[in-house]
Symmetry: C2
Subunit: 164 residues, 2 copies
DNA sequence: CTATCTTTTCAGCGACGACTAAAGTCGATC
DNA sequence: GATCGACTTTAGTCGTCGCTGAAAAGATAG
């Protein structure tokens, strides 16, 4: 109660969390609760939380938290640390993994290249019929080619400071 | 019946269409029928089709075709041409608009930058609490900065041949 | 205005998925 | 081995959404 950041009782904070969750629902097809957990773990202090704390802070059932915490771990965006004794495990956001998340998302978009290529082979690539498909294919081919360079650039220039 | 490309009675073709539709369902949150229409219009010969033809070729109700054709037009990815008399309107894919579609999709991803920025302002930007959020924010800021150059490059170098 | 063809709207169905509550499993401590 | 807390699984509810079929609305020609 004393610590504001511990809970979502600041209306502005819980509203911000809802907006973040809405974004991930729309762009990553992520359940709302997963997005809420992610947003909360980004700004809570201290940064590590138990499942019970998440459940309480976000007014979600323990079952939901369990399911969604596993989803986020599968995506590599949060990690879990266990402790001795019967103490609950702690979850924390792995903010450095964020680029991987976005990268993975964009990679799925460019995967259409394979389908358009298969289509071109299948529907013999000459004539007007193939022209439209080839136009689309060439765009995706170009885009997939750009991606590796983009992420290399992030590693080199984008990333604010290297940690070692 | 004579023309293969007219219908989806070649199993390989209808399977390809299903795969395309599945891709758009996953990456663009598009109804299956919208994706089917898009895929079919990419490879049909002739390239223009009436709603009734789409409905028949894809075994979808006229209502569904109406709804989804409007969705695709709103996205700018297909266009409609009307004709004199009581003839039905014709739809065709605007394959050159494909980059806009993808661009728009990626833009929504980078919109998170605004939210992380709002968060930084809101939760005062010092201390460990803000560190995680700033890490994420800096990534999105960098990514949004890259996007305009990426698309400029497409216009200049990527696009296979200019049409004028 | 009437007849005919095209397109949209809408009620209803079925499926899917997020979510919850409660029961079940696991593991550590006594 | 019994107990207690942490975590997962499951059954079931609720809301949403794609889709259909049919009716309504629109449009064009006679």
């Amino acid at each position: 109660m004393a610590e504001y950041a511990q809970r979502t009782d600041r209306p502005a904070m819980s509203e911000w969390i809802e907006q973040m969750a809405a974004h991930f629902e729309a762009t990553e097809a992520m359940p709302l609760i997963a997005g809420r957990i992610l947003a909360f773990l980004l700004i809570c202090d201290p940064p590590e939380r138990t499942a019970a704390e998440l459940s309480h802070a976000l007014s979600a059932s323990t079952g939901s938290v369990s399911t969604n915490v596993r989803l986020l771990m599968r995506l590599g965006i949060i990690s879990r640390t266990t402790r001795q004794g019967r103490e609950a495990a702690l979850y924390r956001v792995e903010e450095d993994r964020w680029p991987h998340l976005v990268r993975h998302r964009m990679q799925r978009v460019t995967e259409l290249e394979e389908l358009t290529e298969a289509g071109l082979r299948m529907f013999s690539g000459q004539g007007e019929r193939a022209r439209r498909l080839r136009t689309v294919h060439e765009f995706y081919r170009w885009l997939s080619g750009e991606m590796p360079e983009l992420w290399k650039r992030w590693e080199r220039e984008g990333r604010p400071k290297l940690r070692f």
